[in-house]
């Protein structure tokens, strides 16, 4: 066994253990902030696995998108609404946990079976390595163009939805005079903050 393969094995074991334990922690820990941070750890170890498969671009993209954006946004949301409140006890919590545990266990067994019965082509296709960036770009702009664009449309829709939800105070009609306001001027001519309290 050479040094390189030993190192690879050690890295794989460490990353896998981190991944599995982290994922279990995300689900099982009662503190939601810990779960969110562990989720970041899980994403990072997935990126490490990608790196071991010689897919460095995918690994970097994984870190950038999942750790840098998704996980930070989750943390943001948790921390901005981190109110300590005692939740009402759910009736039959033990039974519910048992049920969900059973469902998860069944799913896990199913996946194990699939993993063992599928005839994996071994060794798999040779890693593309540094060429991967170019190949991904080519695919995104040729045969995967439609899903790519659909995903962007989906993101646009969710963004508009978020804006509509968040900025309900800014309406297209002037609150005082009732006439239509130029879209470009909405932000500048904001209605006074204490409008509701003023006598009508």
């Amino acid at each position: 066994m050479t040094i390189a393969s030993t190192t690879q094995l050690i890295c794989f074991v460490v990353l896998s253990v981190t991944l599995v334990l982290g994922a279990l922690g995300v689900v099982l820990l009662p503190n939601i902030v810990y779960s969110a941070f562990l989720l970041g750890g899980v994403f990072l170890s997935v990126a490490g696995l990608y790196l071991m498969l010689n897919a460095s671009f995918v690994a970097a993209a994984q870190v950038l998108v999942y750790v840098g954006a998704v996980n930070v946004l989750i943390l943001f949301a948790i921390m901005l609404v981190n109110k300590k409140e005692n939740l009402a006890a759910i009736p039959g919590l033990g039974l519910r946990r048992l049920l969900s545990g059973a469902v998860c266990g069944g799913l896990f067994l199913l996946l194990i079976r699939v993993a063992f019965t599928t005839p994996w082509p071994l060794p798999g296709p040779a890693a593309v390595g540094e060429e991967a960036t170019i190949r991904i770009g080519e695919h995104l702009f040729s045969d995967y163009l439609l899903p790519f664009e659909l995903a962007s449309v989906l993101l646009l829709m969710s963004m508009i939805g978020a804006i509509v939800l968040a900025r309900r105070d800014v309406l297209s009609t002037d609150v005082i005079t009732g006439e239509l306001v130029d879209q470009g001027l909405i932000e500048k001519e904001r209605t006074p903050l204490l409008l509701e309290k003023s006598p009508r």
């Binding site: 050479t2 040094i3 902030v33 941070f37 970041g40 990072l44 460095s56 671009f57 970097a60 993209a61 870190v63 950038l64 750790v67 840098g68 954006a69 996980n71 930070v72 946004l73 943390l75 943001f76 921390m79 901005l80 390595g129 540094e130 960036t133």
Partner: protein, 376 residues
């Protein structure tokens, strides 16, 4: 530090051959070689930080017509070391109501990505730890881990100022990451590669005239503003705005954990300056191409002596350019007032992002129109 086989000097193979001369197996020799460049770069980063701290104090003093550090060594050069020693020996306090685990993990998570990013900083054609294909993209993705560390330390401190500082830092990093990446993308588009070595090589045609700053002036400004925001330097230091947030996410930290933050922010500043010099100022390139100089002096470019001089000039040029940018950052610190958080987000999302997009589109158009000047 040599990854490829250089025509002249090859430190790696000569080092390994020397070790094999002592009776070691090739594998063991390679194993002994492996940590050397990393340790070297780590030392370089820390020394860079010490120099940076000293420069910061001296230049700040000069701008304010003070003397600055004076008694620790000649001209106060030992002051950063004294600062560091002080931080090492200070008591390491974990507040009683803080979350000890996350409190300790936060600063580590802030520092590690910054140090890892030094992987891709080239000081010469073959003088970098790893010429990875994704090069500059690695830096962008690694720097996006940092906000998690900041959020972690802000949350774990169990202090409203810390939490606000951490949230501000994360919001700031996320909003400035995008124009930064777009500015980098324009450069990458011109050099057809993400690798930092290729980016510098693409600028090395005719010395100072072929540097990217002439082809990407807008990108340079965007990148510099975003880099300052990522490093939390003034005018964008509002995560640790003293007047409002005590010290932001650093409020509860002391001793070595605070030192990690301190180190991280300064390593990040040096790193950003180095990357600006790599992306826009021709990296290790001398303003006049070294090949021309060697040609005028009648020396073959492959001669070991010329290689040695070229390598040294490369390191000096990279560091010099980086420290010129650091100087500019320090000067900017005493020139500009801190922006408000809404102004910061406005600048990032409503000004830099559209401009970066337009810059990218124009670069693409120019690349199609003039493939000779803007990379084929």
């Amino acid at each position: 530090m040599v990854t490829n086989t250089a025509p002249g000097l090859d430190l790696e193979s000569s080092f390994e051959q020397a070790l094999q001369g002592f009776g070691l197996s090739p594998g063991a020799a390679h194993l002994l070689w492996l940590p050397l460049p990393m340790v070297l770069v780590l030392v370089a980063a820390v020394v860079g930080v010490l120099v940076n701290v000293w420069l910061e104090r001296k230049i700040s003093a000069a701008v304010q017509q003070r003397i600055g550090p004076e008694y620790a060594g000649a001209l106060g050069v030992l002051q950063p070391i004294a600062d560091g020693l002080k931080l090492v020996f200070k008591e390491d306090i974990i507040p009683a109501k803080a979350d000890g685990l996350l409190f300790t993990l936060g600063p580590v998570l802030v520092l590690i990505p910054v140090i890892l990013s030094w992987l891709v900083v080239p000081f010469g054609q073959h003088l970098l730890i790893s010429n990875v294909g994704i090069g500059i993209f690695l830096w962008i993705s690694l720097s996006s881990i940092q906000p998690i560390g900041l959020l972690m330390s802000g949350y774990a401190s169990n202090n409203k100022y810390s939490l606000l500082g951490g949230l501000r830092a994360a919001a700031q990093s996320i909003s400035y990451e995008i124009p930064l990446a777009l500015a980098v993308l324009a450069v990458v588009m011109m050099s057809n590669s993400l690798s930092t070595v290729d980016i510098v090589n693409q600028q090395s045609g005719s010395g100072i005239l072929s540097w990217n700053i002439w082809r990407q002036p807008v990108g340079f400004v965007i990148f510099w503003i975003c880099a300052l925001a990522e490093c939390e330097r003034l005018p964008f230091d509002l995560p640790e705005a003293e007047e409002e947030l005590v010290a932001g996410y650093q409020t509860e930290y002391s001793g070595m954990k605070f030192a990690l933050f301190y180190l991280g922010s300064y390593i990040n500043l040096v790193l950003s300056a180095l990357l600006v010099s790599v992306l826009y100022l021709g990296g290790w390139g001398f303003p006049i191409p070294v090949e021309w100089l060697a040609g005028w002096l009648g020396q073959p470019i492959d001669a070991p002596l010329v290689q040695l001089i070229t390598g040294s000039v490369g390191i000096v040029m990279t560091v010099l350019k980086a420290y010129l940018l650091v100087f500019l950052a320090i000067l900017l610190r005493w020139t500009t007032p801190r922006v408000r958080i809404d102004q910061l987000l406005d600048l990032g999302w409503k000004f830099l992002l559209p401009i970066a997009l337009v810059n990218l589109l124009i670069t693409a158009a120019l690349k199609l129109a003039f493939p000779g000047a803007f990379g084929g």
